[in-house]
Amino acid sequence: MSEARLSLGERDDGPRITLAGPLDAAGAGAVWTKSIAAASKLRGRTLAVDISGISRCDTAGATLLLDMEAAGGGPLALIGATEEITALIARVRATRMPQPPPAKAPALTWRETIIHGLSAATEGIAFLGETAVALVMLPARMRMFRRQDLWTAADAAGVRAVPLVMLLGVLIGLILAFQSLIPMRRFGADIYVASLVAIGLVRELGPLLAAVILSGRSGSAFAAEIGTMKVNQEVDALTTMGLDPVTMLVLPRVLAGIAVMPALTIVLDFSGLLGMALVLVGDGIPLTAIGNQVAYWVQPSDFYGALAKSAVFGAAVAAIGCRAGLSTGVGPQAVGVSATAAVVGGIVGSIVLDGIFALIFFRLGI
């Protein structure tokens, strides 16, 4: 494929840039940067460009010539331009608008960052308040509450998550048991691996991992569903019909989250204990001894506390997912951004809540 060629020369009347070959979209690229650089070097002097040797010129070639003119800071003195090329350059010149310098996104100051953070937190709290009000008002708005949506959300977030929760539970139990067994064996305390893993699973890991799974599977799905409805103006349609989007879209999902999370936590706990038992039985510890250890060390308060915690995680993950959906903006990336925000927000929110629960349980001596 032939390309344009550039040469620089000095004549009696001053410097001259000579362009030859095809000055079109296919060929001009070869000389583009050099031509602009050459024109810049001649800034302040007459910019004579000889194009008598070019075989073809299209709008790309004309654009190059005009860019050279802009780089040279003065009008081009074109040598050998045909009528067609002169007309083409004039046509391209007419379309060129003075370009404002690209607007740089101003860097956020600390103050602005804090204000943004506080504003986001305020909006989040306002949404939680709105959801709480919708929950309180539910008896008066029962006809807006779609039970079918509740069952669908509970099925998607709960029943369909069970295989994944069981798989991850067994794996976590296996891993924890393996990791604990080696150091504990040094002290002859193999049997205490059962109580160690059981307490860790029931009190902390069970609710937290279930919340992470709920966030990844369902929080993102809630955000995507509601976000798509927002993009398709379905949420606006509800509002103009006098229907409350929080009651119709958010409450069924939040209630589903509250309902399924304790169940998922129980499934994860038992799966984890099963995984742990597989390792310990393989190590020669009798199943009865493992059961006794778990029953002795895991108190009912651990179990019930974890279930209460998981219900709150469920509400938080679902509410964060729904809020991300309702906050969906415009454009092709909007739903994806909302889904990501739902997952990240759900996980972070669950961990923050877990920290608060840890503090409360510590103060209560649970």
């Binding site: 006809r143 807006m144 409805m229 398709n232 103006q233 379905e234 606006d236 349609a237 509002t239 103009t240 019909m241 006098g242 229907l243």
Partner: protein, 253 residues
């Protein structure tokens, strides 16, 4: 003379430092087909969102059916219908369920009566045989008809249509125009239509206001059939005559 069904007074919308429009005043009388028109980006759809209560104006007052849209109870929402540009039908429901939804939420009608009314509304827009289809299974024109049927579910006296002809072929678009005129004649519904489709405007509009991005407000009010001839504003004349508007204000065929 009757009280206007809509009265917009000094409506303004600003986004930060950017003014979309300001000082927009107009009235819509009962039984009219009133068109809000203008070029892309002039604020037509935003004005519609203000009128249907989805976005408060930066300044001014929007009165619908004698009540301030932003100071009254939610009841007013049951007295207006809105058809969004995309149709905004609920994808998980059939067309019949979509139309039944407002009846289910705002009336105590038994399910059989709701279904019967919804079928009638779908029949009214020519979709009597598509009641069991879902939005994904119908064409764009059908979706807009179904959205009109849903907006008509509660027999509102006032119906807002956002770009009803957008994305439709001329025949389907003309069919939709005829439907609007039929519904106005048969039900006495007042229509506020946002569009920039000249053929539709000339076919259906009794009166219109024209918004302009450069003027940041209303540049013409009146009968669209006459505005192209009588307006002094070059943008208005260019719009109605489908002419290229030259930057210095001259027109060119």
């Amino acid at each position: 003379m009757d009280t206007p069904i809509i009265r917009g007074t000094g409506l303004a919308m600003r986004f930060g430092a950017r003014t979309l429009f300001h000082d927009v005043d107009f009235t819509v009388d009962a039984g009219e087909v009133f068109v809000i028109l203008g070029g892309s980006g002039c604020g037509k759809s935003t004005l519609l969102r203000i009128l249907v209560g989805l976005q408060p104006p930066t300044a001014g007052r929007a009165e619908l059916l004698g009540s301030d849209m932003y100071g009254s109870s939610q009841d007013i929402r049951t007295r207006i219908g809105v058809m969004f540009q995309s149709g905004a039908l609920f994808g998980s429901m059939t067309l019949l369920e979509n139309v039944m939804l407002p009846l289910e939420m705002h009336t105590d009608l038994p399910p059989a009566a709701r279904a019967s009314i919804a079928r009638m509304k779908l029949g009214l827009v020519g979709l009597g045989d598509a009641t069991r289809l879902k939005p994904a299974e119908i064409s764009g024109g059908m979706a807009k008809r179904a959205a009109i049927a849903r907006a008509l579910a509660l027999d509102p006296p006032l119906l807002f249509l956002d770009e009803p002809s957008a994305g439709l072929d001329p025949i389907t678009s003309a069919g939709l125009d005829a439907l609007i005129l039929d519904l106005r004649r048969d039900l006495g519904t007042t229509f506020v239509v946002v569009t920039h489709e000249l053929a539709s405007i000339l076919a259906i509009a009794d009166r219109c206001i024209m918004l302009d991005k450069t003027a940041q407000g209303v540049i013409a009010t009146g009968d669209p059939k006459q505005l192209g001839e009588t307006s002094d504003n070059p943008t208005v004349r260019a719009f109605f005559r489908r002419e290229v508007l030259m930057s210095e204000g001259k027109e060119q065929r």
